[in-house]
């Protein structure tokens, strides 16, 4: 296995997944039993790992398990060396931040209010104040820094519902950064975005990893995003681990044919030399 990220890894793995299996209760008795089947892998601290695979291969379920949103079925998941099952939801929230795939806000919240919600897991509960004036100077400083890093300070007093897709995605990343996490999980960060916003978000993620020494796990259906921006790629097929390794080891025509069941053209990206996937010319 390629360890291209070993330059950045000093603290050992941030996430260790050991023989993880998971299934939804509602799926019992149906044909396919396991959503995730005996997965074992690790993510080094400071690494960007991309999870790819066809629809229904368990990508999003895996991400939800890593953030404690779904229970660990069998096996174990260690975050920062401690099992998920031994951590409370609030404890996980101080370590892991999640950027969801789409975010719909029906109420008129401003950008600052939304980013400050990221401070929720760090709040100290004072029952007599009913939460009024709970934002400490530190909370405000963290929110401000997160907004500087994601370049949304100028949007501070705008309503989240008025923003464009790319701006909203940056606000959601700022909200996640305000949590001061060590691990950032992103579900399809470039879905629904125009190409300019895709580039913006992807380079933001790379920059944040460098500046904040974040460990990043992102799910993407876009193989090129995974190839260009991730240190390693994990390929899932029907809930099982198919390949994990550097983009060169995973984004290969033979592997893709096995996982997706179709032929694609893979050549080298003219700038990075990393694998680039394109559709073949139709044979019909």
């Amino acid at each position: 296995m390629g360890r291209t990220s070993s330059l950045l890894a000093v603290d050992g793995p941030a996430i260790e997944v050991e023989r993880l299996s998971f299934r939804y209760y509602t799926m019992e008795g149906r044909g396919r039993m396991w959503t995730l089947d005996h997965l074992s892998f690790h993510v080094d601290a400071g690494e960007i790992l991309g999870i790819v695979g066809p629809n229904g291969s368990g990508k999003s379920s895996l991400l939800k398990i890593l953030s404690g949103l779904l229970p660990v079925g069998e096996g174990d998941v260690l975050l920062d060396g401690l099992s998920l099952q031994k951590r409370s939801q609030a404890d996980i929230a101080r370590l892991v931040a999640v950027v969801p795939q789409d975010y719909v806000q029906v109420f008129p919240f401003t950008v600052v209010e939304t980013v400050l919600m990221g401070r929720f897991p760090h709040r100290t509960v004072r029952w007599w104040s009913m939460g009024i004036g709970d934002e400490t100077a530190n909370d405000l400083a963290c929110a401000h820094q997160a907004m500087v890093d994601t370049d949304v300070v100028s949007l501070a007093d705008r309503l989240v519902s008025d923003l464009s897709g790319g701006e909203r995605q940056r606000v959601m990343i700022a909200r996640a950064l305000a949590q001061e996490p060590k691990i950032l999980l992103l579900d399809e960060p470039t879905a629904f975005l125009d190409i300019n916003h895709q580039i913006e978000v992807c380079s933001l993620i790379t920059r944040l990893r460098a500046e904040r020494r974040l460990t990043v796990v992102l799910v993407s259906h876009d193989l090129n995003v995974a190839s260009q921006y991730c240190d390693r790629v994990l390929m899932l097929k029907e809930g099982g681990l198919c390949r994990i390794g550097s983009p060169e080891e995973t984004i290969r025509p033979d592997v893709l044919r096995m996982v997706y069941g179709c032929d694609v053209v893979v050549d080298a990206h003219p700038q990075t030399g990393r694998p680039r996937v394109t559709m073949p010319m139709s044979t019909v």
Binding site: K64, S67, G68, L69, S88, Q89, A90, D91, I92, A93, R94, V96, A97, V98, P100, Y103, V104, Q105, V106, F107, P108, F109, T110, V111, V112, E113, T114, L116, M117, G118, F120, P121, R123, W127, M130, G131, I132, G133, D134, E135, A137, L140, A141, H144, V153, A156, D157, S161, Q179
Partner: protein
């Protein structure tokens, strides 16, 4: 850094203690003014000068002992003051229930009346009346408990009906509410149809949403009940903010959403049950008021919840004053007034503000 943070506070994006006290204090003053105004109007005109002495008499408790209290003072103390206060409490509670349900269901059109929660409570209360279950048991009011049970069942039912793949689509929630409302109303109609006419007439008037002047012990119990539930809701206001981000995001921020949801469902059903048992089905206050308040002061529930409760109280006290006076000496149910104001507003939001709301 400091100036940016202070500009956030200035723009109202960060809820400071100062801002909270300014808004709530201002609203409290407005409430006093509105209540005094409402006390003046009615079938019998009462001089504003009698309002204050009448209330002073009441609090000194020397009304019975004083030589011969004026008729207007008796009207004021025995009828109008408790009724206006009742309207204020009911309106405030309805708005608070509306705010909570809207955040919980992430739906700005949620309202206990529209979703059928009020109908559930009304069915519970109607059943209790049909079977002649006394309104009190060892001085403990029982009707609100039946209202609570009915409202809670309706709320759980509607949540289950509208939920698909752990999401709550706004339209399917409203649709489920309409259907549930129709079914529950049919049951209530059935109950009124099998009652003796003189009993069912009273039940019908109550169902349409009407306020009455309660005795002071009943008013006191209701006041305590409302204050208790509102205080607990205020402690959950922070969680309401986080819940509007969506259930999964709320959990990823460390909120144990399942437990919080159950608490909030129970609290809203408790309050709805109490409201319906005293005033029947008054619609749309819980939807219109939070919406208007949100446009003015923003969505932070730590401020939105108490502000909506105060504005809702003023709104219903005024609506009831209209209901009392417009056809004087006859009265129309206040539910008609609120529905005539709220219904068109609801349609406006649903049809013309689609892009922003949904």
């Amino acid at each position: 850094m400091a100036h940016i943070v202070s500009s956030w506070a200035h723009a109202g994006s960060v809820l400071t203690v100062h801002r909270w006290i300014t808004v709530i204090g201002g609203l409290l003053l407005a409430c006093v003014a509105v209540l005094v105004l409402c006390l003046q109007f009615g079938a019998t005109s009462v001089n504003i000068g009698n309002v204050v002495p009448g209330i002073m008499h009441l609090f000194r408790g020397d009304l019975a002992g004083s030589p011969s209290p004026e008729t207007s003072e008796i009207i004021m103390v025995q009828i109008r003051f408790p009724r206006v206060l009742m309207g204020f409490l009911v309106g405030g509670s309805l708005a608070a229930v509306g705010v909570t349900l809207q955040a919980l269901l992430r739906n700005p059109l949620a309202d206990p009346y529209v979703l059928g929660v009020s109908s559930g409570s009304a069915l519970g209360v109607s059943l209790a009346i049909l079977f002649g279950i006394g309104s009190t048991f060892l001085l403990f009011p029982l009707l609100p408990l039946f209202g609570f049970a009915g409202g809670l069942l309706a709320l759980i039912l509607i949540y289950r009906l509208a939920q698909s793949k752990s999401r709550l689509p706004i339209h399917s929630l409203l649709l489920a509410g309409v259907i549930l409302n129709a079914i529950l109303t049919a049951f209530i109609m059935f109950i009124t149809s099998i009652m003796e006419p003189n009993r069912s007439a009273g039940l019908m008037a109550w169902l349409m949403g009407s306020l009455t002047a309660p005795g002071y012990p009943a008013l006191g119990i209701f006041l305590l009940y409302v204050l208790f539930v509102l205080a607990v809701l205020m402690h959950k206001a922070q969680l309401l903010n986080v819940l509007t981000l969506g259930e999964e995001t709320a959990r990823s921020l460390g909120v144990e959403t399942e437990g919080v949801k159950k608490h909030l469902f129970a609290l809203t059903a408790l309050l709805t049950g109490a409201i319906v048992s005293v005033s029947g089905m008054i619609g749309f206050v819980g939807m219109v008021v939070p919406h208007a308040v949100r446009l003015l002061i923003g969505s932070d529930h730590r401020l939105l919840l108490p502000a909506s409760a105060l504005v809702g109280g003023m709104f219903l006290a005024l609506a009831d004053t209209i209901a009392r006076t417009i056809m004087a000496p006859a009265e129309i149910p206040v539910g008609i007034v609120t529905a005539l104001v709220g219904g068109p507003f609801f349609l406006y939001l649903l049809l013309w503000r689609k892009d922003r709301m949904l």
